[in-house]
């Protein structure tokens, strides 16, 4: 099976880092009026969809965030999420939400929620495999990411492109 690699650069520009809770089609360029900049990089293959958010500002704690979904067999998917910080933080969290659409990706509902957390660390990664889903339905992963250092908490969200369950 020949994999088709499609790299979609997210719309970035702005200084509002993080990204929408919706797929790339709903991305908008936002006015520069915030403290941190970042951009999304979307990667889609036949079996996998990933949203990787990069922070580009200096002097902040939250560095990168990713969430992804891939086919994991017939009527199964796997999801994952990662949050990384620029330095050791008190707490690093990632939550991955598995969304399902039965109408071709027009409307989604959350069917799974997965939490991961690490303390005194600079990164947190978590995944869940072998999730039973419905063949033919569309799925995506959304991520919530946060790092906490002292009294400062920085958080953002990610959203993978959609894949169709085999």
């Amino acid at each position: 099976m020949r994999n088709k690699m499609k790299l979609m650069a997210g719309v970035l520009s702005v200084t509002l880092a993080g990204g929408p809770l919706l797929p790339p089609a709903a991305l908008t360029a936002l006015a520069a009026d915030t403290d941190m900049a970042g951009y999304h990089e979307y990667v889609t293959t036949e079996d996998e969809a990933i949203d990787h958010w990069y922070g580009v500002a200096r002097g902040t704690y939250l560095k990168e965030s990713t969430c992804g979904i891939k086919r994991d067999g017939t009527a199964k998917v796997a999801v994952s999420g990662t949050t990384t910080a620029h330095s050791i933080c008190d707490s690093v969290k990632v939550a991955v939400y598995l969304d399902e659409s039965s109408n071709g990706g027009s409307k989604f509902g959350t069917i799974g929620t997965y939490h991961f957390e690490e303390t005194d660390t600079s990164s947190c990664h978590g995944s869940k495999s072998g999730i039973s889903v419905t063949s033919g339905y569309h799925y995506r992963a959304r991520g919530g990411h946060s790092v906490k250092k002292g009294s400062t908490t920085e958080s953002t969200t990610t959203c993978s492109p959609t894949i169709k369950a085999s």
Binding site: L16, G18, A26, T28, A29, G38, T60, E154, T157
Partner: protein, 251 residues
């Protein structure tokens, strides 16, 4: 309000709305080639000036006329600027000629002045217009959709309505000012306290009996410079699942 203050205010509103429209245009590649005529702003200001000269006229909102022209120019070409989603309502501004000055009154009526926005756009609009962090839902049960958004910039308030079957989940957000007061009257019965993954404080869940055999649930919290109130007649476990996955995006 003096004439100059009025002009400044209208100019500022036009610029803000123009930026919002630019963002939507950039998101929609098919509209990138659309351009407003160079003299559009001047033309709009000329019409605004002409309208101002008319005595005792209470017409359509000047702001709305200006906004409608700008928005319609794009909408007529490519339809809605965003994917189907919720309707964003903003208060209507009326102007009344009061002798030498103009009095601006902001009213909320049922006139359908709204634009279609996606949920993410709604969050961004709240944050941009009110200067607060919008309360975002991480978990959304299947079938729940954002239907309406009200933003009142002058009052520092926003209201989001999520429809879930025949139920409605309401998220109310209020910007807290140092010189303003806001209070709520506790009502109902506290039935639970939950922890949210991305929110540091515990959240109390209250049950309110509507008196007709039906109940609904509510919770309130604060974050940064804002107060939030969530309520709905959902099942308790669904309501708590939603609460436990709220997130504020600050980067």
């Amino acid at each position: 309000m003096t004439n100059q203050e009025l002009r400044d205010r209208v100019r500022k509103e036009i610029i803000e709305e123009g930026k919002a429209i630019e963002r939507r245009i950039e998101a929609d590649g098919s509209l990138k080639d659309l351009k407003m005529p160079d003299d559009s702003f001047k033309d709009l200001m000329r019409r605004a000036e002409a309208q101002k000269q008319t005595k005792h006229r209470r017409g359509h909102v000047r702001k709305r006329v200006l906004l409608a022209v700008a928005v319609a120019a794009v909408l007529l070409v490519g339809g809605t600027l965003s994917a189907t989603g919720a309707r964003l309502f903003t208060p209507k501004v009326e102007n009344r000629d009061e002798g030498d000055g103009l009095d601006i009154t902001i009213t909320n009526d049922n006139e359908n002045f709204y634009v279609d926005v996606t949920e993410d756009e709604a969050y961004d609009e709240i944050e941009e217009r009110l200067g607060i962090q919008a309360l975002r839902l991480g978990y959304r049960p299947e079938g729940m959709e954002l239907e309406k958004v009200f933003i009142d910039k002058d009052m520092g308030e926003a209201l989001m309505e999520f429809y879930y079957g025949d139920k409605i989940l309401t998220v109310y957000e209020n910007k807290q000012y140092d010189n303003a007061g806001f209070s709520t009257i506790p009502d109902g019965e506290k039935i639970d306290t939950i922890s949210a993954f991305f929110y540091e404080n515990d959240i109390d869940v209250w049950k309110i009996d509507k008196g007709d055999g039906n109940v609904y649930y509510r919770a309130e919290l604060t974050y940064g410079n804002a107060y939030y109130y969530i309520s709905g007649a959902l099942k308790l476990d669904e309501f708590e699942n939603i609460l436990s996955e709220i997130i504020f995006k600050n980067v």
